[in-house]
Symmetry: C2
Subunit: 430 residues, 2 copies
């Protein structure tokens, strides 16, 4: 009998943890990803704000898995599925599986306004982060060269949509940059005059957190010069401004820099697999999975990580955070092994250890099961937990060095404008 | 009387050193660059081969110069000059100067075959380096997926044109990657089977060095699996191969990865300034300067760094290396100050401290004035000298950490394929 073949699609936290947890299992593993690296997404906002380099939070998948002899890494793009024949269709190849794990995650969503993406980059990939970084730095450069006060003010206005963890972290980092990192770097403008607007649809930042932690985070943000616009929605995004609506009041905000942290939608592969298997997808395209993370009628297909709509004990879907993905990856690996042994495991249960968000230097909020707190202690916890989850030791060290450096000097050394030509500074006017 | 205004175009070694040397001078300085960072070009090949991240060798110009109160940094593109009115024309602004320093350097040249650039990236910018990195990593990934042995061999063939320092450093780093870094990372191929061909028009590598150092470098390269093709020229570059010629023998080499380290040409701004001032340019577009680095009839215009054709004591133009650029930057600053005092300096004299090239881990060649040597000692000297010339302390530290890590583990953590979509793997066939 041939060795049981597990095909994993996606090398994020869910897929990578599944692969690694199969290290000693009597199976063959093929991990397929479109990219050649695992990305530590929780720190992507630090690349977008020049605190870290892309290489610091990305680790080559082949390097991570090179000693795992039963695992093969394949750089490739999955196009379709043939669940009846247990096969995955790549662009140029077909791969048979005994167990399939789909973990391709989510990307950002513009609530049906895809035309906004051009002016309001989201933050899911390395390219997103370097583009966001380019836009932020360009805005300060353009302001420095602008002589008209109205237009200068527009260049110095930054709108961040969505006050979830990503929006809060971006706003905090931008505040740090404007008030500390860039101090004295310009001659015509004072970067501290930047207006940083954090637009949130509910009545507080970090809505999934307890209200007192939201208040702590809001106080920290305001200290960094961030203006929080509560109960407010973005109703239009253009090249030179956004329209926001609070209740019935509509307002035009001239700006060239809109950072999108508002919505997500599932990877399109999820819907494709649902079509092929008759599984159900939710409003944002995530696949509804059974308690053991498989699809109805397909016990050999697992969907895990952000792409899975997995109902928690409270009847709500589990949040799209790294701990859920890691635990689901490990569970799936164990389930595959136990089934081969004829003793399947009970349903997946998420052990919620809490969550945390960082607001700036020495400020964070931590919400653990039995305790919650903010400030410096929270920041240290945040730091430690994040450092410990960076996959490569070398990157862990590099990130630590840069954080330490930033803590003492407020410097952000990776402030490069790369990629697109930067010449178009003045072509884009109000 | 208004303060003497020095306009510097280009924030490389020459321009940056000129600006910094004017720190205490009674002048106003405007440093104009198209990019917002100073790039440590000598280490660009390490970004191209995944050893360092772009941020590690790039430092924001504003950050470097923020405490220099008499210096303003301008992100902008110079379009033209009006030397009769002492003005520089930017895309959207005109700036008057009392002294002008042009230091926009060189880029790579394809000897009139610009159509080769698409298939054979050079190495002068961060984008060049990340594109080269993408091509190198893609070749190994494509080989891993290729089943036809002929085509697999083509993916595993790397052609580097030109065995100057850049070509030698690239070839050495590629050899390290293939033999050490990537060991055990693939399942279908052995990366050590990669053919690395270093094509050189003369009869030895590093032609400006003494022959015994060339031999040392060649021995080191061959130990890393590099094949040196002497007296050989590339006569055609296509998507799926190159044509090389040795004497009268022509050979076709199937490959997808050609790295260009063969020729340079001056920044086009040089020719523009020469047209406006009647200065002479040499064969590759560098401006011929007087012994005090100014243009004939224009004592207020200095051309320095790689862009200057400055004749040395041996009648040959000075080489395009960082020490020349740094010394010329300092000289020019001092000359401007001394002229303001009415006591101009004698002509520029280059103090040649020697040169060095690195071949791989623990191997380099060093050619100092009174001593030359290779091996581990040379590598330590190379390491120290390069570390000490990185502008920011933070980057110095980050580079040191990564070199130390690489020394012990042979790992290269920044092996990311970014930018273009990587999906086209199989679309490009022989």
């Amino acid at each position: 009998m041939a060795t049981h073949h597990v095909v994993i699609i996606g090398g994020g936290f869910a897929g990578l943890f599944a692969a690694q947890s199969l290290r000693h299992a009597p199976v063959e593993v093929t991990l397929i990803d479109r990219r050649n690296f695992h990305l530590f997404q929780p720190l992507l906002y630090q690349v977008a704000t020049g605190g870290l380099s892309p290489g610091d939070i990305a680790s080559p998948l082949r390097g991570i898995l090179k000693t795992q002899k039963n695992c093969r890494v394949l750089l490739g793009e999955v196009m379709d599925f043939e669940p009846q024949d247990q096969r995955v269709i790549l662009r140029d190849e077909t791969i048979a599986y005994d167990s399939l794990i789909l973990a391709t995650g989510v990307k950002h969503s513009y609530f049906g306004h895809d035309e906004w993406e051009e002016f309001a980059p989201g933050l899911k990939t390395i390219e997103d982060a370097t583009e966001m970084r380019r836009k932020i730095l360009l805005a300060f450069e353009a302001a420095e060269r602008e002589t008209d006060p109205t237009q200068r003010a527009a260049w110095l206005t930054f709108v961040i949509t969505g006050a979830g963890p990503t929006g809060v972290e971006l706003a905090g980092a931008l505040g740090e940059m404007a008030h500390y990192t860039m101090k004295n770097e310009f001659r015509a403008i004072d970067p501290a005059e930047a207006r940083i607007l954090l637009v949130e649809g509910t009545d507080r930042v970090l809505p999934p957190y307890p209200p007192d932690l939201s208040r702590k985070a809001e106080a920290n943000l305001e200290r960094l010069g961030v203006t929080i616009l509560r109960n407010t929605f973005v109703t239009a995004v253009r090249e030179n401004g956004v329209t926001i609506q609070t209740g019935k009041v509509t307002q035009e905000i001239p700006t060239h820099t809109v950072l999108w942290a508002a919505g997500i939608q599932a990877s399109p592969l999820g819907r494709r697999l649902a079509d092929r298997t008759g599984a159900t997808v939710d409003r944002i395209g995530r696949i509804q999975v059974a308690p053991d993370l498989t699809l109805p009628g397909h016990p050999e297909i697992f969907v895990i990580g952000d792409l899975a709509h997995c109902v928690g004990p409270d009847g709500q879907p589990l949040p799209g955070v790294a701990p859920v993905a890691m635990q689901q990856g490990k569970y799936t690996a164990r389930q595959i092994v136990q089934r081969l042994r004829g003793t399947p495991m009970p349903p997946f249960r998420y052990l919620d250890l809490g969550n945390m968000a960082v607001i700036g230097r020495a400020a964070a909020v931590v919400n653990l099961r039995f305790i919650r707190f903010g400030g410096f202690a929270a920041w240290l916890v945040w730091l430690f937990v994040h450092l410990m989850h960076i996959v490569e030791y070398e990157n862990r060290f590099l990130v630590f060095i840069q954080w330490a450096w930033n803590y003492f000097t407020r410097n952000r050394g990776a402030r490069l404008m790369t990629g697109q030509d930067i010449i178009q500074i003045k072509k884009r006017k109000l």
